[in-house]
């Protein structure tokens, strides 16, 4: 539809642009998909990404200190994301706090930690490799986009071929049954949140690479966008349905939509509204074929 409305939309350049713009969202959505598959929800990406963005920008070559850890710094940032994910998971299984709240709390903690690291002065990265991720291209797509593709692949493999992935799926289907079968679900839940956290951590690194600076707000808005993308892709919030590939499609749909609206020249006032309308319409269209009389919709 956008292709009909705007000639630029059809251009190869714009296709590249959409793919590049989708990279971070794709990685974050990949992470959140596992949580959604379990039937939980994760709102921690904003905070986790902020913390990881600040961490990586202070650990690789930057204008604030003399660190120059390169890849190691990136790994630390991803691990930090993992640790935050763990925290959410532990709050869920040990304190029995619903994930909605646990992850909201962890997000606040992440933002606090990021603000502490920020300390008033913007860290700009000078690390050539990290900056290069956003700029250098391979087969027409930026390295970041390839990283996102790799993440989706890894995510899919985890979902299909590992116990973690399958159990996450099963937890969304019938958690109580796993317990009856003697499976201890708690470690898997924590692990799923940690996995998601790692993806957010990587997302934070990618944002830093794009912006050339570590921002506390690096993850702003990704929490809800990622959920939207996953749901548009067909992952159910009640868990047990959907998956990484679904989500990847959802991300592309959402990105095409945002991009298309700008390309077609919809007034900025209305863009959010049109987006919302289309998301609702898309989901409505998707559920029509599987509508059953007594099916539960929450």
């Amino acid at each position: 539809m956008f292709a009909a409305l705007s000639p630029q939309f059809r251009s190869l350049g714009n296709a590249q642009n959409i793919m590049d713009a989708a990279a971070v969202l794709a990685v974050v959505t990949c992470g959140i998909t596992f949580v959604l598959m379990m039937g939980s929800i994760d709102l921690s990406s904003a905070g986790v990404m902020g913390a990881s963005a600040l961490t990586v920008s202070l650990l690789v070559a930057n204008n604030r200190n003399d660190n120059d850890l390169g890849l190691l710094g990136i790994a630390v940032a991803v691990l930090l994301g993992c640790a935050f994910g763990c925290l959410s998971g532990l709050a869920l299984v040990l304190l029995k706090v619903p994930s909605f709240m646990a992850t909201l709390g962890v997000s606040a903690i992440g933002l606090g930690v990021a603000t502490l690291m920020f300390a008033g002065v913007q860290p700009n990265i000078t690390d050539a490799m990290l900056k290069g991720w956003a700029i250098d291209r391979f087969l027409g797509l930026s390295y970041l986009t390839w990283i996102a593709v790799a993440c989706i692949l890894v995510g899919w493999l985890i979902q299909r071929y590992t116990r973690l992935g399958r159990y996450a799926y099963a937890i969304g289907g019938a958690e109580e049954v796993l317990a009856l079968s003697g499976v201890k679900v708690k470690p898997y839940k924590v692990a799923v949140f940690a996995l998601a956290g790692a993806f957010y951590g990587l997302g934070g690194v990618m944002v830093t690479s794009q912006l050339g600076a570590g921002l506390v707000q690096a993850g702003n808005g990704y929490d809800f966008s990622a959920i939207t993308a996953a749901v548009v892709g067909g992952t159910l919030l009640t868990g047990g349905r959907g998956g990484v590939l679904h989500s990847a499609v959802g991300v592309l749909l959402v990105m095409v939509l945002t991009n298309g609206l700008v390309q077609v020249g919809v007034s900025p006032y209305w863009q959010g509204g049109v987006e919302g309308l289309i998301v609702v319409a898309a989901v409505a269209a998707a559920v029509i074929p599987q509508r059953r009389r007594n099916q539960v919709v929450k």
Partner: protein
């Protein structure tokens, strides 16, 4: 040395003593039957044997050795496995994964799935019970009975898991099976006896006596006796279960009402839906019509369509001659139709809500004064029905999920009766999981309702039940009514006549 021995097991729940010093012995290579009324404590006892219920007192001995069972895994390591009363499969996993869940063995190496191995291992289990289902089919795409087969296949994994002869517990495995499948299961149980011990629970006492070597009877959380199966008769067992002699006339046939031939109460013409076509059906006031058919015959969907819970693509439905538009369950309720679904746990009851609230959920008027709830009115109403149906519950405010299966079912039935305005009852396996006594009461209730002019459509639990209760039987096959058999008291058809038409 017995395979399993239980001595003086006690378990308290708030308000009830589920187990009150039970003793139980399971010998090597025997099939032990466990009989008892609803709420006698059978499931609780068995759950204690697989570590899901921690007893307050008493000991469990496995092969003479005292053990503490804290989890399913521990129990499995001692060679004890169980098929639960309520189905317990993960719907969105494949059958293979469900079969191997928790004991994946060689099919998962270092957390990585090897689907081909998994398929093979699952197939081995399915072959044992001769099930034809595809191991890689998603469980929720299987029929109820196939899922039950998967459960049995799953528990047989115990053989691979423990080096000792296993003890396999089956808690009401037959309540959702067809007679052919039951035969397969029994063959399986007999095969198991060669190398294992089996504990078998069923409310169908003839089944129990058929497959078991010995039957232990539970009453109110205590073991009250033991019977060798050979030569025993169901009546004897029943007497032990309830502590007195039950009535002979199980189906209360002498109470069957004589159906007049006025205009039918329910009249269905050309009803079609996804899994059924061109259904014509008349039910007169006071008549009990049973629909029988094999799995997938579509009778269940017909029943749901009559209640507006399943979309119908064509046809019309009239109640007392008035056409009704059944696009919502509300309209059906308003027209005086009641429905008792088969999947009680998911569809029949609201688990965390109290017995009283569940009972008055539909007929709100019965507990209200004007638009307001009258607590006193509700209390007396609920208490009356609890007594009338002898529902075993600590108080009317107990969450219904805390009741035993049979008692839950009675509450669900009561829901339609409290208003006193019911005209047509659609009963989908209303006696599934009920003990003989409770069954008999339900039958009596159905007769009473029929006598008061309520029309009933019954999807019976067994052919015998259909024949015993119905005035008329419709046989469905592949979405169509293939024949109709009159079934008056005194002129009952034989099961064989019906089976011919069903397949």
């Amino acid at each position: 040395m017995p395979a399993l021995e239980v001595r003086g097991l006690v378990k308290h729940y708030p308000g009830v003593k589920a187990l009150d010093g039970v003793d139980l012995v399971v010998r090597q290579h025997e099939v032990l039957g466990l009989a008892g009324e609803n709420g006698a404590g059978k499931s609780t006892l068995l759950k204690a044997l697989v570590g899901l219920v921690t007893p307050d007192a008493g000991e469990i001995y496995v092969r003479g050795e005292a053990v503490k069972l804290r989890s399913v895994v521990e129990a499995a390591n001692h060679g004890i496995g169980m098929v639960f009363q309520e189905q317990s499969l993960v719907p969105n996993l494949t059958a293979a994964e469900n079969i191997l869940l928790g004991s994946e063995g060689a099919s998962v190496r270092r957390g990585l799935y090897r689907w081909d191995v998994m398929r093979r291992l699952a197939q081995e289990q399915l072959d044992k019970i001769g099930s034809k289902i595809d191991p890689l089919a998603r469980t929720d795409s299987l029929s109820f009975a196939d899922r039950q087969m998967v459960e049995i296949a799953k528990v047989l994994r115990i053989e691979q898991r423990s080096q000792h002869p296993p003890v396999i517990i089956l808690d009401e495995p037959t309540s959702v099976l067809e007679s052919k499948e039951i035969d397969t299961l029994f063959a399986q149980i007999r095969r198991l006896r060669e190398f294992a011990s089996v504990v078998f629970v069923s409310h169908r006492l003839d089944e129990v006596l058929d497959v078991c070597d010995r039957v232990t009877v539970l009453r109110s959380g205590q073991s009250v006796g033991e019977v060798a199966a050979a030569g025993a008769v169901p009546r004897e067992l029943h007497r032990m279960m309830i502590g007195s002699t039950g009535s002979d006339d199980h189906y209360h046939e002498n109470a069957a009402s004589v159906v007049g031939s006025e205009q039918p109460r329910l009249s269905v013409r050309g009803l079609s839906g996804k899994s059924f076509r061109g259904i014509d059906l008349d039910v007169a006031a006071g008549e009990i019509v049973s629909i029988v058919g094999v799995h997938g015959s579509g009778r269940e969907d017909v029943c749901r369509a009559l209640f507006g819970a399943e979309p119908a693509t064509a046809g019309e439905i009239r109640m007392d001659g008035r056409k009704i538009d059944l696009r919502s369950t509300r309209a059906a309720c308003a027209a005086g139709i009641g429905y008792v679904p088969a999947e009680r746990k998911i569809e029949g009851m609201v688990g965390p809500m109290s017995v009283a609230d569940n009972m008055t959920l539909t007929k709100q008027k019965a507990r209200c004064a004007g638009p307001f709830v009258a607590p006193a009115k509700q209390a007396s109403l609920v208490d009356r029905w609890i007594e009338r149906l002898s529902i075993r519950t600590p108080t009317r405010d107990t969450a219904i999920q805390r009741l035993s299966g049979g008692n839950q079912q009675k509450v669900v039935l009561a829901r339609w009766l409290v208003g006193g305005d019911i005209k047509l009852l659609l009963l989908d396996h209303p006696t599934r999981g009920l003990d003989i006594g409770a069954r008999s009461e339900v039958y009596r209730l159905m007769r009473e309702l029929a006598a008061s002019g309520v029309a009933t459509v019954l999807l019976a639990d067994s052919l015998e039940e259909a024949i015993g209760m119905a005035d008329r039987i419709l046989v469905m096959n592949d979405g169509r009514v293939v024949t109709e058999v009159a079934c008056p008291a005194g002129g009952k058809p034989s099961p064989l006549d019906l089976v011919k038409e069903m397949v």
